[in-house]
């Protein structure tokens, strides 16, 4: 049963600390999305990769956020330094052909910055 795996599921950290969230996309999918979900802003697209290359990260605060795909089986989203306003649920999704087909979502990482 192929699925997108995100770790950790929950993370509580202190303001100023570095946070790394990981995502294992479905094998064979060439597209990876990172979204942030909050009550106020809904689902915001942070970054979008195709074939491991970043296509769009315009939704991501560049001063503290970074997204990478070191290899086809791992995508990472880092926040350094973290701030309380970064508290949200972060979702990774993968797809076989970008937005042209359905995206498969992981269960999310619930981040709380205190």
């Amino acid at each position: 049963d192929a699925r997108v795996t995100q770790t950790p599921r929950h993370k509580v950290t202190e303001m100023g600390q570095e946070v790394t969230m990981r995502c294992q996309p479905i094998l064979g999918h060439n597209t990876v999305f990172w979204y942030r979900q909050t009550m106020m802003q809904g689902l915001e697209l942070l970054a979008y990769f195709r074939n491991r290359a970043p296509l769009d990260d315009s939704g991501m605060p560049k001063d503290r956020f970074s997204a990478e795909m070191p290899d086809a089986t791992l995508a990472t989203l880092k926040i350094q330094p973290s701030e309380p306003r970064d508290s949200a649920v972060y979702f990774c999704a993968s797809g076989p052909r970008g937005g042209d087909t359905e995206a498969f979502f992981g269960q999310g990482t619930r981040l709380t910055v205190v």
Partner: protein, 112 residues
């Protein structure tokens, strides 16, 4: 940035009734998708309708697309308590190479 706007924001119905949710968007699209999210879980894809299609069915789901009005609707027939969830539309912007942008969602509550 948000592309789709769902309407209503919240909907409460009785089991057995039909539920209709609407989505409006701003730009030219390749396709429009509907997703469902149960509380505390990831989103699950329901149905995709391409820009050259007007209507699509999947089980109890019926989706329509009107590209001239830049709007779509999702109809769930004979609703069940298990349909209680948030429903989101997402658009694949024609000019943005596969970027999938979500609306704010409709929170559906189906009472037994």
């Amino acid at each position: 940035s948000q592309q789709g706007e769902e309407d209503p924001q919240a909907l409460s119905i009785q089991e057995g009734e039909n539920a209709t949710m609407n989505c409006s968007y701003k730009t030219s699209i390749n396709n429009l998708q509907w997703y469902r999210q149960n509380s505390g879980r990831g989103l699950v894809h329901l149905i995709l309708i391409r820009s050259n299609e007007r209507e699509k069915h999947s089980g109890r789901l019926r989706v329509t697309l009107d590209t001239s009005k830049k709007s779509s609707s999702l109809l769930i027939t004979a609703s069940r308590a298990a349909d209680t969830a948030s429903y989101f539309c997402a658009t694949d912007d024609h000019n943005q190479g596969g970027k999938l942008i979500f609306g704010q969602g409709t929170e559906l509550s189906v009472k037994p």
